[in-house]
């Protein structure tokens, strides 16, 4: 009846299967209570963690959480598992794997060698028995670099997505936010708009607008309209200037069905974007967003905990060599992540699992007004993730997204953490910021004066 057992004193704790064990071992969060899969007591959670620590990694190759026949993501995970890469860690338990990851003998090279031998479920499992500092320490060792018109993820760098959203997609309003962001050194990961009106014509209009700006000022960055993948495929067919293909992805096939795509849709979109050959330093053309809770929200979670579902989404991402993967950690609301503590923990877990699996992991460090969180929680997570080597964060005017009605990191926030930790933007973009006289080439600080090229654009609109 029980697949896993733990004797504590005279009491035996039992867990029906690996999915139940992982769910009960997960640090407490509201979404797992909502799903009815969380541990019923703090003691049961601690016992589940002890039990999980004793599970050999090999078991994860046998005990599939969602049947192979039922789910194309399970098939992707199983079929792409690399036994040769797995060999150096194949003798370990989950607890032993934690120590292996933390050990001084294991650096970025060895982590890269085993990457394709680690399944998302193994990454999720080990993260559940790691403290926040463990997640940070191991994430920091992982090196993941990608490229399109600039190089992202290099050591000592922190990039930003410039997010100039506007509630009616007004071009002048969007351009104003882009200008604000560029003047604050933001936008090397991508200039990415969530459109208010989600259709192909609108997407094409916004793509052309951003392409003009990037070309006019010769900015070494890429643009993206975060519209449905099928819209982007159509935009490419219509000849729109598509740099990156966007899609929200989840960790079960049923979740992605609810999003209206499958793996072959993504493959088609990737091929279409590659055919445009718009990258100059690299060919990573995909931009994915994820977030704990999406599977439960689509009622497609198979009684798994939300963090395990999230890690499985990284298998989807990994298949398509993305430029950027962004876990939108606090957007979903307090029924999934209740407060700042849960949001911070989830952000660190997602970043760790993504990096361990080889993804260019960034984080939308954010909250909604009905979550029990505030700017101080965001400061904490931004600082922790940047110490952990996070690839990119969002940048938005004054933390206030006036289209999506939530708060994320501001242009100022990125500058704070770059200053405190001595981080820089992507090298090509950094050079452009100096060339464009946005930052001073000597001091590396923002210039107080607005550069002439931008001043004249502003003068044309304002008439002075």
């Amino acid at each position: 009846m029980y697949r896993f057992r733990q004797l504590v004193g005279s009491h035996t704790y039992g867990f029906k299967n690996l999915g139940e064990l992982m769910a009960k071992a997960t640090p407490a969060r509201s979404g797992d209570y909502l799903a009815g899969v969380a541990a019923q007591s703090a003691e049961e959670r601690a016992i589940a963690q002890m039990t999980l620590a004793d599970v050999p990694l090999k078991v994860f190759l046998e005990d599939l959480l969602i049947p192979y026949e039922e789910d194309e993501i399970t098939r992707l995970i199983v079929d792409s598992h690399d036994l040769v890469a797995f060999q150096p860690i194949s003798h370990l338990t989950v607890g032993g794997f934690r120590e292996w990851l933390l050990s001084e003998q294991v650096g970025s090279e060895r982590l890269e060698q085993v990457r394709l031998g680690i399944t998302p479920e193994m990454a999720a499992a080990v993260s559940k028995i790691m403290r926040n500092q463990d997640l940070i320490l191991v994430s920091k060792k992982c090196q993941v670099s990608t490229g399109f018109r600039n190089t992202l993820g290099l050591p000592g760098r922190l990039s930003t997505r410039l997010q100039p959203n506007h509630p009616t997609d007004d071009l002048t309003g969007i351009a104003a936010s882009i200008l604000d962001g560029l003047m604050y050194g933001s936008g090397d990961a991508v200039i990415g708009i969530n459109p208010a009106t989600d259709n192909v014509a609108q997407a094409c209009r916004l793509m052309r607008m951003m392409d003009e700006v990037i070309q006019h000022y010769e900015i070494p960055t890429q643009s993206c309209v975060l519209t449905h993948v099928t819209n982007t495929i159509e935009a490419i067919e219509q000849g729109a200037p598509v740099d990156l293909v966007f899609q929200s992805i989840g960790g079960t096939q049923a979740t992605n069905d609810s999003f209206g795509f499958n793996l072959s849709t993504l493959a088609e979109a990737q091929a279409a974007a590659l055919s445009l050959q718009r990258g100059s330093v690299g060919n990573n053309v995909m931009y994915f967003e994820t977030g704990q809770g999406s599977a439960l929200s689509a009622n497609a979670h198979f009684q798994l905990d939300q963090q395990t579902c999230e890690a499985r989404a990284y298998a989807v991402a990994r298949r398509f060599s993305p430029l950027l993967v962004n876990t939108v950690v606090g957007f979903i609301g307090p029924e999934y992540l209740f407060d700042g503590k849960q949001i911070i923990r989830a952000g660190l877990e997602d970043h760790f699992c993504g990096k361990l699996l080889g993804l260019p992991m960034g984080c939308d460090i954010c909250y909604t007004n009905h979550a029990h969180a505030d700017q101080n929680d965001m400061d904490n997570l931004l600082t922790l993730l940047s110490v952990a080597g996070c690839t990119f964060v969002m940048g938005i005017p004054g933390s206030d997204d006036i289209m999506l009605n939530y708060q994320t990191t501001s242009f100022h926030d990125a500058l704070y953490i770059r200053q405190v930790l001595g981080l820089k933007p992507a090298p090509e973009f950094d050079a452009w910021l100096k060339h464009a006289e946005i930052i001073d080439a000597q001091t590396g600080r923002l210039n107080a004066q607005m550069p002439a090229a931008f001043r004249s654009s502003l003068g044309r609109l304002l008439g002075n």
């Binding site: 002048t172 936010s177 200008l179 604000d180 006019h216 009905h370 100022h412």
Partner: protein, 289 residues
């Protein structure tokens, strides 16, 4: 503690002018509500902007956590007595507290058994069936309902009375700790042909008082969003009561005519307008002087 010497106020009011950098593009705020051109102290947000943000966030949080003032709402509803003669019914969902409401969306969608009884008993006292029942739910902002529900209904209900086939309107039902779907249960129990639910939307930083409207034809428990039509952002600084009422009237009449609501009922009240930005173009790359 007592200060030994009173300093003149103006000497404490100095801004750090040499260190505060202002942004000339702040004037672009006439084109957007985004918080652009904030300026900076070092690389950080100036004090005034920091505190303005905190105030906006405080208002949004208060909107989530301040309970609905039922007494005041019922008192206010008396102004509608010409268009809606039945006294309002006060109901609640199965979410007992705000904290439970926030963590258990499923509870907020279900009526409390006490409230089901109230409705069943009410139904036994009436002979006719209603064309429309209006439900007010606090949702994520009681403030939105408190401020907008009655003024909006004051615009809409007289127009329903003027319709060629008048609407037989039931009592206004107030649901505490209610989510959108709870309206369908209310409508089902009262055997109403249509339910119109007004609900406090998730508060934005600059819009703590935004009210949403959801309309279901043939309401019954368990329907998904696909069966509802929605009008969003109803508030003084957003979609006006008159404009929202115009849209609602269109949806109500079409729902009654076609006998359905949701994705199959399209809102065709949107007119194509040339927005300002099409005229101005993209100023960042424009060469027009």
């Amino acid at each position: 503690m007592k200060l030994t010497k009173n300093l003149p106020l103006e000497s404490c009011d100095q801004r750090a002018d040499e260190t505060l950098v202002s942004n000339p593009w702040r004037d672009l705020r006439r084109f957007t509500d985004a918080r652009i051109g904030l300026g900076r102290a070092g690389v950080s947000i100036p004090t005034q902007e920091l505190l303005a943000f905190q105030l906006a966030h405080a208002k949004a949080q208060d909107a989530v956590h301040t309970p609905l003032n039922i007494g005041r709402l019922i008192e206010g509803l008396s102004v509608l007595k010409n268009d809606c003669a039945q006294p309002p019914l006060s109901l609640r969902s199965r979410a007992e507290t705000r904290s439970i409401y926030l963590q258990r969306p499923d509870y907020g969608r279900l009526l409390h058994s006490d409230s089901e009884q109230v409705l069943l008993q009410y139904r036994d006292t009436i002979s006719q069936s209603y064309d429309l029942v209006v439900v007010l739910a606090d949702g994520l902002s009681a403030l939105a309902i408190q401020e907008n529900a009655i003024p909006f209904l004051q615009v809409l209900l007289p127009q329903l009375a003027l319709a060629p086939i008048p609407w037989n309107i039931g009592p206004v039902c107030i649901v505490e700790q209610g989510r959108v779907a709870v309206g369908d249960s209310v409508g089902e129990i009262l055997r109403a042909k249509c339910v119109m639910l007004l609900v406090g939307e998730r508060p934005g930083l600059s819009s703590p008082d935004s009210m949403g409207l959801y309309l279901t034809w043939s309401p019954k428990a368990g329907l998904t969003d696909a069966y509802r039509n929605c009008i969003s952002n109803i508030r003084e600084a957003g979609l006006s009561y008159e404009e929202a009422s115009r849209k609602a009237l269109y949806l109500l009449n079409e729902a009654r005519r076609q006998g359905l609501s949701g994705v199959q009922l399209k809102d065709r009240t949107e007119d194509l307008v040339l927005t300002g930005d099409e005229v101005r173009g993209n100023f960042l790359v424009s060469t027009k002087g």
